[in-house]
């Protein structure tokens, strides 16, 4: 193993560069759709538990036409009685990074709580502390709440304000803020 002494020792460590250089190329995912719905039965979900990311009493109007729900401002909601329902509304995220707004029903004063609502609320609360799956148990008439046996990592929450999330979820056209809003006209048979 004779060494070629004409060459200087080979030590490239002085001209190494960090990684691939791609670290300087920052990107950000643009969320153009944020659905408003309860979690699907196959979805593992986590809730963002922060007072800045919660509407404690959001009035939602569902026209039952298969379309998106409407967020109704309180002044209008007060006039609509049973056509709107109050929900807690907070951002949730799935293991596949789908951001959504989770409407959790609020039991009205005097209302007899049914087991679907009670267990839905329990699931909503449980999702504040970790990943859960909410699965309907029709035989028993309530939701099963399933927790993972092994702790799963905390979600990476998007760097967005709650106002931005609401804006994307409802746009302007799904916020009922005037008496002649088309959704109200549909409700009253006015169109």
């Amino acid at each position: 193993m004779a060494k070629d002494d004409k060459k200087f020792p080979f030590d490239p460590s002085r001209f190494a560069m960090p990684s691939t250089g791609a670290e300087e190329f920052a990107t950000r995912k643009i969320r153009s759709v944020i659905p408003v719905n309860k979690p699907g039965k196959m979805e593992w979900v986590h809730l963002l538990d922060h007072p800045d990311f919660l509407i404690p009493g959001a009035a939602l109007l569902d026209l039952q036409d298969g379309g998106r729900v409407y967020l109704v401002v309180p002044e209008i909601a007060a006039q609509l009685d049973d056509d709107v329902r109050l929900y807690k509304l907070a951002p949730g995220i799935t293991r596949q990074d789908k951001l959504f707004l989770w409407p959790c029903p609020i039991i009205r004063p005097g209302e007899t709580p049914n087991q679907w609502h009670v267990t839905h609320i329990a699931a909503f609360d449980a999702a504040k502390n970790g990943w859960i799956r909410m699965k309907s148990n029709r035989a028993c008439g309530f939701y099963d709440i399933i927790e993972p046996e092994k702790i799963m990592p905390e979600p990476d929450w998007p760097d967005m304000s709650f106002a931005d999330m609401l804006q994307i979820a409802f746009n302007d056209d799904h916020i009922v803020d005037r008496d002649d809003h088309p959704a109200l006209r549909r409700l009253t048979g006015g169109m």
Binding site: M1, A2, K3, D4, K6, K7, F8, F10, P12, S13, R14, F15, A16, M17, P18, S19, T20, G21, A22, E23, F25, A26, T27, R95, E149, K150, M152, P153
Partner: protein, 586 residues
């Protein structure tokens, strides 16, 4: 400090060199002439073969103060080595640098010297006349005095073109001090390539000649023997309808094209043979018949397989030798033609799970590094993902480990959950679950990999630790998986290059580089010592890429004369071939 022109470079002399030579494929080359231009003074010197043979060193300085410039310098060095000369300390290989700077671009005229000149708008004379001259050189002479003059003029015209190319490259792609170091490291590898090409791989030529003489009969016999288990050949040809029948009988669901036809490409066969091991022999037969219609292995008169290793030819910077002329490009069984010469031994040293180590270190994912450092990253992933208990082993949780291995390797290539499921014999939902667990456990790696993909798709340059680059050029069809896998492959290639340099300069004889492995040769009584030193040098080289004092493990397998090299994947087919050859092949 940045160098934009040759006179700014920190060298006292810059030699632009071209040589002409001839020689049969597989043989060491015979020098014809050499022309050298010292760029700073403009002096040109021309030497014919008889003058060159008188010299025991090149007729110019090859020490640390001089720079040697050539295009595909390993070709020039084949002449140097044939003449018994030393190799330069500082090498700028215009081919390697042109490839590095344009990697990912579409090059209408290719990446040869003519293509590189065209890239800069430099015309390179009458190509037809040059082709004619090249053909005349390859005849090996004798040449008249006029022909000698014409050959020297031709050689000088290449030097003139190269001088213009070198200046144009420096002007377009100025070099900082770190860039220059990286350029010289690539040049140093090119010198190592020349040494490896010069040495070659020892081949059992007696067996090879027996096979060549009877190759047609061998192929028929191979088909008959292998097809007994399948019944898919008729009159020596693969028949799709018979294969359909076989698949039906075996209850194997085979991927199909949109047209409904069976997908019979090489990758599909490879994937399916991994899933259904009973298909492995059929796959090996098809590969043999496809790649070895005739035996093109180039073996010199001294019994060594030599071919161009073609450094830096692939996007990842890996070598790209011919798949039919290079022994390691042939089907696995054919590697049994590798046999040490009497009194010598060979050793095959490879980096263990190199891609995982690179992914862990470059991404900074300590959990992934811990998995690698455990010695069995696949069982460690099974443990980390909650599929196996702490203390599980390869033996106690084989199924979980096998599944995790598919996932760990598949993620490097962007394999889909469906593909992973196919390969690991898992339901797609199980594969999806495992993939999600991989993302959970090694989230730092995934973040880093995502950044590489985004940068690559946006035509941003990404690079290896020592400066091999890629940037998707205009008009290129960019794929996410290219940039997902590129950092691991390209840094793996770099690790092997550094290892080759370190080994060769430590006096260890390398026969060939093989993807993430190196084949070395030594006298029987020194092989253990050489393997120990080679292992040390390879580990050290891996540390240069991985950083933070981390190193790859290196595995070694020694083959001592009179044994031959055996690749386990082709062992059965080799046994059959050996039985057909009878006692003549030992």
């Amino acid at each position: 400090m940045t160098f934009h022109a040759c006179h700014e470079l920190p060298f006292t002399q810059i030699y632009i060199v071209d040589t002409e030579f001839f020689g049969d494929d597989g043989d060491q080359k015979t020098p014809v002439c050499l022309v050298v231009r010292e760029l700073l003074s403009g002096e040109v010197r021309r030497y014919w073969m008889d003058e060159l043979r008188q010299m025991d060193q090149p007729p110019f300085d090859i020490g640390p103060d001089a720079l040697f410039v050539a295009f595909f310098a390993s070709a020039e060095f084949s002449v140097f080595l044939a003449l018994g000369w030393g190799l330069p300390a500082n090498i700028f290989d215009c081919h390697a640098e042109f490839r590095c700077q344009t990697n990912g671009e579409t090059l209408p005229f290719g990446n040869g010297q003519i293509g590189a000149l065209q890239y800069f708008g430099i015309t390179d004379g009458d190509q037809i006349a040059k082709d004619d001259m090249r053909a005349r050189i390859l005849t090996g002479g004798p040449w008249s005095s006029d022909e000698r003059l014409a050959i020297l003029d031709y050689c000088q015209s290449d030097v003139d073109g190269l001088a213009m190319l070198f200046s144009a490259m420096l002007a377009r792609w100025p070099l900082g001090l770190m860039d220059l170091d990286q350029v010289l490291a690539r040049g140093r590898y090119v010198a190592t390539v020349a040494q490896m090409e010069h040495r070659g791989v020892p081949i059992d030529t007696r067996t090879l000649n027996l096979m060549r003489d009877n190759w047609h009969e061998f192929k028929q016999a191979l088909i008959e023997k292998t097809d007994q288990a399948y019944g898919v050949y008729d009159k020596g040809s693969f028949r799709t309808h018979l294969f359909e029948r076989y698949l039906g009988a075996q209850d194997i669901a085979w991927p199909r094209l949109a047209s409904g036809e069976l997908q019979l490409d090489r990758d599909t066969f490879k994937m399916m043979a991994l899933r259904y091991p009973q298909l492995a022999e059929l796959r090996e037969l098809r590969k043999t018949l496809a790649e070895m219609r005739e035996i093109k292995l180039t073996v010199g008169r001294d019994g060594r397989n030599r071919t161009l290793l073609s450094p830096f030819q692939s996007k990842t910077g890996r070598n790209q030798p011919s798949t039919t002329r290079f022994i390691f490009g042939l089907p696995a069984w054919a590697r049994s033609l590798i046999k040490p010469e009497p009194g010598t031994a060979l050793a095959y040293l490879d980096f263990s799970s190199q891609e995982i180590a690179i992914a862990a270190c470059l991404s900074g994912d300590d959990a992934l590094w811990q998995a690698y450092a455990s010695g069995d990253p696949y069982i460690q992933f099974a443990i980390d993902a909650g599929l196996a208990p702490v203390g599980a082993t390869k033996e106690s949780h084989k199924a979980e480990r096998d599944a995790c291995k598919v996932i760990m390797l598949g993620v490097q290539y962007g394999m889909s959950a469906y593909g992973m499921g196919q390969k690991a014999n898992l339901h797609v939902l199980e594969a999806e679950d495992l993939l999600q667990r991989h993302k959970d456990v090694y989230h730092t790696f995934w973040k880093w990999a995502g950044q590489n993909v985004e940068a690559g798709l946006a035509s941003q340059e990404i690079h290896t630790i020592f400066g091999w680059k890629i940037r998707a050029g205009k008009g290129r069809d960019v794929k996410e998986n290219t940039f997902l896998n590129w950092p691991m492959q390209a840094n793996g290639a770099e690790m092997l290059r550094l290892a080759c340099i370190a080994l060769e300069e430590a006096g260890i004889g390398i026969c060939a580089p093989v993807h993430d492995a190196i084949l070395i040769e030594a006298p029987l009584d020194a092989i253990d010592q050489h393997v120990a030193r080679a292992t040390y040098e390879m580990q050290k080289a891996s540390g240069w890429v991985l950083g933070r004092g981390r190193q790859c493990r290196v595995d070694a397998e020694i083959v001592r004369w009179p044994d031959r090299y055996i690749d386990g994947r082709g062992a059965d087919m080799w046994s059959f071939i050996k039985s057909r050859l009878g006692e003549e092949a030992v």
